[in-house]
Amino acid sequence: MIVIDAMSWIFNNSGVFFNAFNRHLLMCVLSLGIGFVIAVPLGFSVARAPRAAFAVINIAGALRSIPSLAILSATMPFLGIGLLPSIIALVVLAVPPLLLNTIIGIREIDTSVIDAANGMGMSAGQMLREIELPLAVPSILSGVRTSAIQVIGGAALASFIGGGGLGDFINAGIAIMNMPRLLVGAVPIALLAIFAELAFSALERVFTQRR
């Protein structure tokens, strides 16, 4: 049984496995965090400026058309191999969905709400904190979910440019045609992605109902 062989390999090499697992998680969390810090403020600042928003939306769309594999491998000529180029590439993967969903979230806010806030004499800062941000949260979370899936999948490819992570086991498994080793990489990656999808979907539902 391949599955049992894979489990026993993890059990016997738990140090190696958890090193790779933690590295995979570190890459995902860091790049998603950095992507969030870049994309959400940028989305807020361009959403109300039609021309800037148009440019940003098109650039983000073009970035999304580049395959993850190409984005990861394209960092290599500039930054070499290892963790840093992997994280930079994953940030590039994380930003477009976050940016697009932030802009969508702000644009979907009813103009009458904004007018009412203006009429009540709210300052721009108050408007942002009390109205725009809370109302845009469900859409932003949807962006986080899409980005998380992109980044978890991208992190699996980081192994090709020496970034480490769970992709290493898939690489090793294919190189020596060892099926259990292949599963040691593939199953946790798949479970991680499914978990992220379910967790962020649940969060999205909670925030959508609260409105």
């Binding site: 391949i2 073009a62 058309s65 580049i66 395959p67 993850s68 594999l69 190409a70 984005i71 491998s73 394209a74 290599m76 000529p77 899936i149 978890i152 999948g153 991208g154 699996a156 490819l157 090709f160 440019i161 992709g167 898939i170 498994g173 294919i174 099926m179 292949l182 599963l183 990489g185 593939a186 199953v187 990656i189 798949a190 992605a193 499914i194 992220a196 999808e197 379910l198 979907s201």
Partner: protein
């Protein structure tokens, strides 16, 4: 730009292999999803379950999915096309189901009243009305599979990914960028082509362009 002008034939070959992977996987998925989508559209509870399940499966990264197929199917075009078809299925079933659910109930009743059988009703009434949704699904599936298809090169399925992987192995940036950009152009072209087609159909069926 030294390598590209001298190896246009290699790039063309990789492009054709890529197109073969994309068309065969989306084609297989389209046939299956038409059957499943039409069946599920009339069963709201099954359809809701299918939408949730496909959403979860769609999250599985391509490299992991290919790796999970290798113990069963080995390496090469077969597992690659199977994996790519699986991604297309998740997109297409959703869109086709939604397209058939969007057909107004009174239109269906009118067709029944005119004595159309189920098969004729699906073929002559529902399919044309659901067509913009179906084309929309094909558009998203194509764009997704064109991108993910680059990873298929890793399991010996050929395509544009071969050029990218060679670039990684040989530390040859020009190959990485050539393979990557060609894939992007292909994705953008497919997106534009099917989006135009979708708009045309929506205009013709009198609905508003989405």
């Amino acid at each position: 730009m030294k390598w590209v002008p001298k190896h246009l034939d290699r790039l063309l070959e990789a492009l054709l292999e890529h197109l073969y992977l994309v068309f065969s996987s989306v084609g297989i998925a389209l046939v299956i999803s038409l059957i499943v989508g039409i069946w599920a559209a009339r069963r709201p509870r099954s359809f809701a379950a299918i939408v949730v399940l496909t959403g979860i499966l769609f999250a599985v990264p391509s490299l992991a999915l290919f790796a999970l197929l290798i113990p069963v199917m080995g390496i090469g075009a077969a597992p690659a096309i199977t994996g790519l078809a699986a991604y297309s299925l998740m997109i297409l079933i959703r869109n086709i189901g939604m397209g058939f659910q969007a057909v107004p109930r009174d239109v269906l009743e009118a067709a029944d009243g005119m004595g159309y059988g189920t098969a004729r009703r699906i073929w002559e009434v529902e399919l044309p009305l659901a067509m913009p949704y179906i084309i929309g699904g094909i558009r998203i599936a194509m764009v997704t599979v064109i991108g993910i298809g680059t990873v298929a090169a890793y399991i010996n399925a050929g395509g544009l990914g071969v050029i990218i992987f060679e670039g990684i192995d040989q530390r040859f940036p020009e190959k990485i960028i050539a393979g990557g950009l060609l894939t992007s152009f292909l994705a953008l072209f497919a997106d534009y082509f099917f989006a135009s087609f979708e708009k045309l159909l929506r205009r013709r069926s009198g609905g508003k362009a989405a």
